[in-house]
Amino acid sequence: MNIIVCIKQVPDTAEVRINPETNTLIREGVPSIINPYDLHAIEAALQIKEKTGAKVTVITMGPPQAEDALREAISMGVDDVRLISDRAFAGADTWATSYALYKAIEKLGYDIILCGKQAIDGDTAQVGPEVAEFLNIPHIAYIRKIEDVSDKSIKVQRLMDEGYDVVESSLPVLLTVVKEINTPRLPSLKGKMAAKKAVITKMDLNAIGAEAENVGLKGSPTQVKNIFAPQSKADRKMFRGSVEEQVDMLVRELRGLKCV
């Protein structure tokens, strides 16, 4: 069985702020990390591997420095990695990203594809389902538990607003995972050594067999028109006085708003 895990290198968003005066991003020293949800996807793949002997390949589409994310994946114990990188992929939106990943995945062969629920930079949660549509295979999103997996089918729990669904699918299938599914393992010492030595195989536009008009900015239906800082609430009110007085003031405001 072949498992492909799609990971993305993202800036650690907790530390990205906007400078309200210049409306630009302050990102001094913002570290790059593997998208946190994708660590859970890697862990899920490794757990299936331990049960079935599957081969786990981790792929990422990104600039050359995304190699660091792949080395981290190797240190966790995955079998193989691919860096999908080409100047032509620049500026891709979710459509063009999914298209490139689909082309690469087709070349690699697959039974199960694992993605994170969403990437924390864009928060779109679209790439997984879009890849599945391109491959013309089913997908199940928001997986919180894999109940059963065989050569032909898989049974999982899918998180929903009011609980969860138990869903069964034939293979091949694409799954996106939420963090409840597992606790990602830490790299082992042996893994770290392997990561250091590993030669990372790159796939460019030709290697994945994609057409230039479908990838990168050219292939992207959406465009970022502009970015701006979220508005802060101007009508802020701090209550003063004793606790009783403050509570009275709050209750009065709430009544004024007809909330009570």
Partner: protein, 397 residues
């Protein structure tokens, strides 16, 4: 198109590097260089004091699909257990406004559910409802949902398609967009029509809510967006409104996934945070699991739900399903009462679009006060019981 640095002009001052939200600019031999991370947001172009960053067009940049045939605004009306979800009515409110501005029709797509529910959609503003009653739609399943909607869009060519940014909408709508070779903007919080071009301006938070972005889909149709629940206002309900219900059949649908069971895990204090008008949330400042009993009582008098910070969930005081924030739920109630929550950015991104935020914290420097509409500096164990008492008094009057 590419954004490049004119190295003759570049002085290597590095201001563009700090301005780039995507870490796409690096210093190479004393000059700025723009790499593959570039998303063409142009932030660097406006910051460069030398005007050294320029946009160059390349052959094949403009690739116009034929978009003039596409007319009308569509709303996917999601249902759960046969009942139309409230986000659908919000989308009809937003969709009506957009359709009126474009002088176009507003249609809803309803799969599963009943004729009565389809009629409700008309009363809430739809001109037409495409309704498929087939039983394969009873439970949410990505394959039949995406195939039916894709076919309908291909046949009727709407200009705009909106769906809720719920687990359902965010799971299957991407498949539809992929198949239709068009753009999809996730989790929008505002939608406008650009007066000059007639394009849909899709506004959404990115980077965990630290920045907002306006997204366009200028050359492909339909323009598709999922919209965050509880941010759009419902339209007007008119029981006398007329409209047309168009029955649709489900042909040629392949299904490889099966929903075996649906398990509800809604606890007494109503875990369905995303639907609640009032959320009372607790953090590590509660100090002990009992604190949540007190918050449940406050939630009860306010008819609300109970939320929590990750710290409180990690302590084991309350289950994960209550967690609000980056790794929990995104909520947008009318009132969010944060009790003993410091206001870490990962928590804020999940709740800062609430209409009114009330913070109760004993540390006046806590960052939660920066986003709060009303702030009380005090001990939760003094403030909350008093608040419960006073609200109860008013209710009894």
């Amino acid at each position: 198109m590419r954004i490049v640095v004119n190295i003759e002009r570049c002085t290597g001052c590095g201001q563009c590097i700090d301005s780039c939200p995507f870490t796409a600019i690096v210093m190479q031999e004393g000059k700025a260089f723009i790499n593959e991370y570039c998303q063409f947001c142009r932030a660097c172009m406006s910051i460069c004091p030398e005007g050294a960053i320029i946009e160059i067009m390349e052959e094949g940049d403009i690739q116009k699909a034929d978009i003039s045939d596409y007319k009308g605004v569509w709303v996917f009306a999601e249902q759960r257990d046969g009942m139309v979800a409230s986000v659908a009515y919000e989308l009809l409110g937003a969709g009506r406004r957009l359709a009126d501005e474009l002088k176009a029709e507003l249609s809803a797509v309803l799969v599963g559910s009943t004729e009565d529910q389809a009629k409700e959609l008309i009363k809430w503003g739809a001109d037409k409802v495409y309704h498929c009653k087939d039983s394969i739609f009873e439970k949410f399943n990505d394959e039949p949902y995406s195939q039916l909607l894709t076919n309908l869009v291909k046949t009727h060519k709407p200009e705009i398609v909106l769906a809720g940014a719920t687990p359902i909408g965010r799971s299957f709508i991407p498949r539809v967009a992929a198949r239709l070779r068009t753009g999809l903007t996730a989790d929008c919080t505002a939608l406008e029509i650009d007066r000059d071009s007639g394009n849909l301006l899709q506004i959404r938070p990115a980077f965990g809510g630290n920045i907002m972005a306006t997204i366009l889909c200028p050359n492909h149709r339909p323009q598709m967006a999922t919209v965050r629940p509880r941010v759009m206002k419902r339209g007007e309900y008119n029981a006398d409104r007329n409209g047309e219900i168009i029955p649709v059949s489900a042909d040629n649908i392949t299904i490889r996934t099966k929903v075996l069971e649906t398990i509800k895990e809604v606890s007494e204090c109503m875990v369905n945070l995303q639907e609640a008008d009032v959320i009372v949330a607790g953090g590590r400042g509660l100090g002990k699991p009992d604190g949540f009993k007190m918050l449940e009582e406050l939630a009860e008098v306010l008819d609300g739900a109970v939320g929590a910070s990750r710290a409180a969930v990690d302590e084991g005081w309350i289950p994960y399903s209550h967690q609000v924030g980056q790794t929990g739920k995104t909520v947008c109630p009318k009132i969010y009462i944060a009790c003993g929550i410091s206001g870490a950015v990962q928590h804020l991104v999940g709740m800062q679009s609430s209409d009114i935020i009330i913070a109760i914290n004993k540390n006046p420097e806590a960052p939660i006060f920066n986003v709060a509409t009303y702030g009380i500096v005090g001990d939760v164990y003094e403030v909350v019981p008093l608040l419960i008492k006073k609200i109860k008094e008013i209710k009894e009057l």
